[in-house]
Symmetry: C2
Subunit: 376 residues, 2 copies
């Protein structure tokens, strides 16, 4: 389903054909945790923001409104009004980061809901059943995302279990895709590479999971507190072991500079709450760097957030107006800044793809890597 | 500037020609208190919601970002991105309802800002200067909105002062409109009828202020706690004294049924925070009545908020999705419900106008007066 169009160094220009549309890569996936982008942005808005893929969270949607409800309502795409591809995570990351009192066994994880504390069990089979009910385009295998730093022995043990969980995830999704009542019988499955910051665990894991010939492979367990250099080193370690004919997804990354550095190292897909979360705190990404819209220097500034930007916000509103909205605690402040940042990330990916098409990714990289993440 | 097109009983079909566009009446004015509709709705959205006039609050904008800043930024229309007519209130209502420690004299009112407590003075001249800086299409005269119930003697004294303030408002706006540096030298002025619930004060006030031949006349000091019957009675008392060739504006009203009843009694213009405020609490207006979207009966309901509605929300999203967004405290819940309610109010006014055009307002009234404000 993934077609590699061309390469420049390790950077890849490709496309991922899915039953719900083709994704041009490298691509950023926009995070709609509970089935909506935080900051009052709807699926209709996403269409105007160059979004290609919506990412939704299995853990949150299982708790509310419940995956059975989403299934009855026709799946996530119909429920949220987003007609393009949707990726659901496995729930693993949230189980390990949000839930309380978790107890992990070979079968899976028992944990208490962060909403009302009620006990829930989730293992690979449950995660696949939930994601099948959600009807996403791409399901993620159930994994454990270990904390950073992690002891070698724990990381190894966890990684082995995550590999066994991957085999069970695949078997269960194959079974579900074979059932006549399944919402999306062509649901794709991505496996997840783990192994903390240990090179041997990472490469061993990758060599074993690529044998499954899955629809794609993710690098998980990064951007969890390690330095950027360590993250880049792990990508460089794992990437040569990843099949060339499958998309590679770096989970939870990141700042614009992190994305440029990872594309350079052969990554195709990204997701992160950063553009939306930072926007809600008044931080607007631009090609000159990141602006804090609470800064009083914008009080009389008639320019748009980014004069180079073609988003619906920059075409219509001034920095002065957005500054005023943040100071006045108007919800519209968040919406405008979130829309701009989503457009910025998606159009940055478009510019990366254009530069690869023109065999000039390295020039694009050099022109932007300094400015793109600085605070101004 | 106001043209009366036809009448049915006392109900009026007309249009108000302004330098910033023509308003078909009866019309509802959408409230953007601080220069933005609460609930993450922008001026661009308003264009798709059948909005004809945006109303902004002088008191709030004077405090933040400051009317001098708005003036430097080209006035409210440029600042907010709304190209149509804008009405600004006088600040009087907020001075008397929001501000602390106010002290009222013949000159005006000294009060403490609700934001940081600093002392501000506002009289008719200051209100006109602020509204001139804001560059609105229609300015409102500075008045005192007395509490309900009010003692007769206080209501009379206040009403007399409000009339004297109206003369000063007019003189000051005439002066400002004559200055070459004024943003909108064609700024219109509406006078405000006061007099609490006392028939003689109301009629006497109206007879005296109509002599000024202003661009329009408002009935103020209603919808402040009196019963609907008292409100309708006061409208019936004042209306025969209002000039037929000027628009009549009932300030701060109201529920759909209140609007129908007031149109029937000869009112042309309305404003209220009710459609937006109620939406933010999950209340959606429909032609069958008002729905509470927190109600679990909507959890699996695939219908739109109102199957008869053509708004961007009803064309794209289900009750189940909106219910889920409210339960999940997603900001998008508020935005979608606010957009629907704004559209509902504006399209209700459109249907009222259509019924008047077809000489069937009384039929429209009878068909809808029961259902339109009930809770379902």
């Amino acid at each position: 389903m993934y077609q590699l169009i061309k390469k420049e160094g390790r950077a890849r220009r490709g496309q991922l054909v899915t039953p719900h549309g083709t994704i041009q890569t490298p691509a950023f996936m926009n995070v709609a945790t509970c089935g909506a982008i935080k900051g009052a942005v709807s699926a209709l808005d996403l269409k105007r923001l160059k979004c290609q893929v919506q990412l939704c969270n299995t853990y949150h949607l299982h708790l509310r409104p419940g995956d059975e409800a989403v299934r009855k309502l026709g799946g996530l795409r119909k429920f949220t009004g987003w007609e393009g591809p949707v990726l659901t995570d496995s729930g693993g990351f949230q189980v390990f980061s949000l839930a309380k009192l978790r107890n992990i066994t070979e079968r899976g994880v028992t944990f208490a809901s962060h909403i009302d504390g009620h006990k829930i069990f989730m293992g690979p089979e449950e995660s696949m059943q939930i994601q099948s009910n959600l009807g996403s385009t791409i399901a993620m295998a159930f994994d454990e995302c270990v904390k950073n730093p992690a002891e070698y022995d724990y990381a190894k043990e966890s990684c082995e279990r995550t590999i066994r969980w991957l085999f069970r995830s695949k078997a269960e999704l194959d079974r579900l895709n074979g059932l006549p009542e399944t919402l999306n019988r062509n649901q794709m499955l991505f496996g997840i590479n783990q192994g903390s910051t240990y090179e041997d665990l990472r490469t061993d894991c990758m060599r074993r999971i690529r044998e499954l010939d899955l629809d794609g492979y993710a690098i998980g367990g990064l951007a969890v507190g390690e330095s950027a250099d360590v993250m880049y080193h792990i990508i460089e370690t794992v990437e040569p072991e990843m099949p060339e004919n499958k998309p590679r997804y770096l989970m939870g990354v990141g700042m614009p500079a992190n994305i440029l550095e990872a594309v350079k190292r052969g990554v195709d897909l990204f997701d992160c709450v950063l553009p939306t979360r930072n926007a809600r705190h008044g931080h607007a990404f631009t090609w000159d760097g990141c602006r804090n819209m609470f800064n009083s220097k914008y009080a009389l500034d008639e320019l748009p957030l980014d004069p180079q930007c073609g988003c619906p916000v920059c075409l219509n509103f001034s920095r002065a107006y957005i500054h005023h909205l943040f100071k006045s605690k108007e919800m519209l402040a968040m919406r405008l800044c979130v829309m701009h940042n989503i457009y910025f990330f998606n159009s940055m990916m478009e510019k990366i793809r254009d530069s690869l098409d023109r065999d000039n990714f390295s020039g694009f990289f050099e022109d932007n890597i300094q400015n793109i993440s600085q605070r101004i």
